[in-house]
């Protein structure tokens, strides 16, 4: 499909841009660096280095980027046998959420080699995605979108359709809201209008997708289009831009957030519908039929998802 190819090309270019800094850095003597254990920084060199100079802790100055006046105490530097990599061991555990700056004197022609160590940004983006997908699942952990959720989780096919449509709307709305928020609301001090603006954008997106889908792919429209109407008055879709605004996410983070939110919704719907289909064969007492039992099942899912709390991937 045309849109799919263009989309993947854009995504590829974006990813390449993210990797660019790493590529550029490889030009110097430091080819790679990362956090190792609690109190360790690993460095890799592009050429074998002078063992003595590298192992002399006096040649090092290390500090957190935001606290340049607080020098961290380096205990020892362990050099690998091939002189191509080293491990910097510190007296106290490092705060890996901060970018660290490391300066080494006298290991190359230049007076000083400086490099920055921080957790991978791509990893962070990925953790935002997993966060909104599992750890902070919009249905089971944040309790949003319940009305639509209970209405469309009876069959697997409706669940899938609903989930996909939601993800699409959320990503589109998320991105548009980000542009609006950064370039219109913030500069003019109009952040209090965010509620109106976001809900307006949501309705617009739904209308736009409706029209586009009708013209471009009528078959798809016939299977999914009917769900679009339900999307407008829904907590989940408006929650994405609201979270983006309160956390001040940048573009990529917003994209990951909306993707994860939509994916999480799809996952929740799918799980719920699978159970729903089986429940139809079970004997449920009349007082519990319909919504009450659905709520109780959802509660059990919510308990299960509690297990993801505190998951740290990067």
């Amino acid at each position: 499909m045309m849109n799919g190819k263009a989309l993947s090309r854009i995504l590829g270019a974006a990813l390449a841009l993210l990797f660019l800094p790493a590529v550029l850095q490889a030009a110097g003597i430091i080819s790679d660096n990362s956090f190792g254990d609690d109190n360790e920084i690993m460095v890799e060199f592009s050429t074998p280095v002078d063992g003595e100079a590298v192992q002399n802790t006096d040649n090092y100055t290390v500090f957190e980027e935001n606290d340049p006046d607080i020098r961290l105490k380096l205990e020892e530097v362990v050099l690998a046998p091939d002189n191509m990599s080293a491990s910097l061991r510190f007296a106290a555990p490092l705060n890996t959420t901060q970018t660290h700056v490391v300066k080494i004197e006298g290991i190359s022609g230049k007076a000083e080699e400086i490099f920055r160590v921080s957790k991978s940004y791509l990893g962070y983006l990925f953790s935002v995605l997993i966060g909104s997908l599992l750890i902070k699942n919009f249905v089971f952990t944040k309790y949003l979108g319940l009305c639509v959720f209970f209405g469309t989780s009876k069959k697997k096919t409706t669940a899938k359709g609903m989930g996909v449509v939601f993800t699409l709307v959320m990503v589109a709305t998320g991105i548009m809201s980000w542009f609006f928020y950064q370039y219109v609301l913030k500069p003019y001090n109009l952040t209090f209008l965010q509620i109106v603006v976001f809900i307006g954008l949501t309705s617009l997106t739904v209308q736009a997708i409706d029209t586009i889908l009708r013209k471009v792919n009528p078959v798809l429209f016939n299977s999914f289009g009917v769900f679009l109407v339900l999307v407008i008055a829904n907590c989940v879709v408006i929650a994405v831009p609201l979270i983006m605004a309160s956390n001040e996410y940048n573009f990529f983070e917003t994209f990951m957030l909306s993707l994860g939110a939509g994916g999480g919704f799809l996952l929740a719907l799918y799980l719920m519908s699978s159970v729903s289909e089986r429940m139809r064969l079970a004997k449920i007492p009349p007082t519990f039929q319909g919504l009450p039992i659905a709520f109780i099942v959802a509660g059990q899912f919510a308990m299960a998802f509690l297990g993801f709390s505190g998951l740290k991937l990067f």
């Binding site: 089971f140 952990t141 944040k142 309790y143 949003l144 979108g145 319940l146 009305c147 209970f150 209090f192 209008l193 965010q194 509620i195 109106v196 809900i199 307006g200 309705s203 008055a233 829904n234 907590c235 879709v237 408006i238 929650a239 609201l242 979270i243 309160s246 009349p286 007082t287 519990f288 039929q289 919504l291 009450p292 039992i293 659905a294 709520f295 109780i296 959802a298 509660g299 059990q300 919510a302 308990m303 998802f305 509690l306």
Partner: protein, 205 residues
């Protein structure tokens, strides 16, 4: 469609017969999400009451001026305006309680119940009737939230409105958000039970 119900009947309707949370099963997100204490329930209930009443009255006032083709956007705009007003007011007046509610106050704008009520009632009925209907619906929501909050706070932290009543914590589980699902589900079953029993007794007569 002229409404013959008295004002009191309108309000009672909102609280009992067409209770938004338990009967109409709309706007359940906050009922599950933040009903961990009675205070939260009261605050959000008041916010919803405010938005519902003001939106109903506004739409009813302007019902002859609103062009039918743009009525949904108009409803949305009205609701969004009043939500913004109550959001800003709460943030300024009660910052600590507001912080506990997170984004749920802002999400009121997406509540189906309010839009539906405007569509079904306020755009056709006179201002006074709309006011009472809005009040009823808002109160129904408030009552629902308070009841759920009461159960969860009492069983979860042994307190009500922050005052230690039981002196111990029965089941931490109830404050955890997933309990919201259970409590609401059980209460819905309870409401169903009452309704079925009522119908059965009437049928037998």
């Amino acid at each position: 469609m002229a409404n013959d119900k008295t004002n009191f009947q309108l309000v009672a309707n909102g609280i009992l017969a067409e209770n938004p949370i338990f009967k109409l099963a709309l706007s359940m997100c906050p009922a599950v999400g933040i009903s961990t204490t009675v205070m939260n329930g009261v605050m959000l209930g008041i916010a919803v009451l405010f938005v519902q009443v003001f939106s109903s009255v506004t739409i009813s006032l302007f019902k002859n001026v609103i062009h039918p083709r743009i009525r949904i956007p108009t409803y949305t705009l009205t609701i969004a305006t009043w939500v913004t007003v109550i959001d800003l007011t709460l943030a300024a007046a009660l910052p600590e309680a507001y912080a506990k509610m997170g984004i749920f106050v802002k999400i009121i704008v997406a509540f189906a119940i309010i839009t539906m009520r405007l569509e079904m009632f306020a755009c056709k009925e006179p201002v006074q009737a709309s006011f009472w209907d809005g009040l009823g619906m808002g109160l129904g929501f408030l009552v629902g939230m308070v009841v759920i909050g009461f159960v969860r706070e009492l069983l979860g932290s042994g307190a009500i409105l922050g005052y230690d009543v039981l002196g111990f914590k029965p089941l931490l589980f109830f404050i955890l958000p997933s309990a919201g699902f259970f409590v609401v589900g059980l209460m819905m079953a309870f409401f169903n039970y009452i309704e079925i029993a009522y119908k059965r007794s009437k049928g037998q007569k």
